[in-house]
Symmetry: C2
Subunit: 230 residues, 2 copies
């Protein structure tokens, strides 16, 4: 029932901002003043304000103090789980089918995108993920063999490349983008839909140092929604 003290301070400050006691752009009291007011240590106030600043509601600068953000940027945190767990958490049975597994030199368009040397070998994988035996996600992936040689021994019929990489190259940095695309011929067939159907699409490139580990395009079956709370 009882919440931590920093949460109490955080919510109290949030309430005062919502009540416009401190309107957008206003300077709020210094940490020391708030600590005295609420009868807590300055570190507790610091943690509360740090969380509000991270969520975009406050702008903090040394010496300049803490201001209510003029244009609060909403930050949504998306959890991107392994596809198998995502499917299973929706109460459906997961399977996947490895449609293609080819070892080949990097094609020209990927050289720049993945910062590869000419002729560097990649593993090209096409995987269909199924939920309750129905198409859920079509995955087109390139893996840099030099960066993760272990991928060649991975039993990709049993564990998807998605899952294998997450477990073997954890928390690497990368870029991710979301968009809507019309289904091409191949994706339409794999996902059992008509060409041109709107598909939710994720492109992701994952890096280890200066060369990319993997680049993948995920095409979700029609009706897929990615949800979160803000």
């Amino acid at each position: 029932m009882s919440r931590p003290g920093y949460a109490r301070i955080r919510d109290a400050v949030l309430a005062r901002i919502r009540a416009r006691e401190w309107p957008p752009g206003a300077l709020i009291p210094a940490e020391a003043a708030l600590a005295a007011e609420y009868g807590v240590a300055r570190a507790t106030v610091n943690r509360a304000l740090r969380e509000l600043a991270r969520s975009g509601l406050l702008d903090r600068r040394r010496r300049a103090g803490t201001r209510v953000a003029l244009n609060p940027v909403r930050k949504a945190t998306l959890s991107i789980p392994v596809t198998r767990l995502e499917v299973e958490s929706r109460g459906m049975a997961y399977r996947h089918r490895l449609l293609e597994r080819t070892r080949r030199p990097a094609p020209a368009p990927l050289l720049a995108a993945m910062q590869l040397k000419r002729g560097q070998e990649l593993l090209h994988l096409k995987t269909l993920h199924l939920a309750d035996a129905r198409p859920y996600l079509f995955e087109d992936r390139w893996v840099n063999i030099a960066a993760v040689p272990g991928i060649l021994q991975a039993p990709l019929e049993r564990i998807s490349a998605n899952e294998w990489l997450v477990q073997n190259v954890p928390m690497s940095a990368g870029e991710i983008s979301f968009q809507a695309t019309g289904a091409g011929q191949e994706a339409a067939e794999a996902l059992d839909t008509a060409p041109g159907t709107a598909l939710f699409t994720i492109d992701r490139t994952t890096w280890a140092g200066t060369a990319a580990v993997t680049r993948v395009r995920l095409l979700y079956a029609p009706g897929y929604r990615m949800e979160t709370r803000i």
Copy 2:
């Protein structure tokens, strides 16, 4: 140049996980042990591990200790700025056009979705956002007048409802979902594209207490990408 101590500890732990000194599922040393090893206070280690846990790489439980996550969940943080600033930050000129502004009782489908009483009045707004005079985003929004009566006086031709609400109802809680939809007749016309074109779509409901403040559907022009780093 010099990074904070907690960042040093955090990166050191991350490196040891990547090096598989602590493989997925392994128990890592207790905070006190790491504090002694690195010669810092326990609070510093706590902050480092807390950040890694929040990013999904560690599972922490009292008494049970800290384990390397078996299935690290990638968390992507999306910044969702006000549309005007998003457009301007891409170096384009922003304008918006209010296409419709109607005050009417809540239609049936919204009663449940927004937790409204029968007959409650909403403001229905349709807005086209333009970047360099080209369609950028078509917005279909419902605003709960009872929750934000000020919206009736807002100069929505000058400041978009999007921006007005962010500045006047900051940091409210809400749900947000992303999907791909095919353009309907109205959206296709507004966005100057063909019906059926794949559109990146955001649905958002924002709450203040038990009743919704606003519910909006955003349809982005073809080619829109939402990007972030993970």
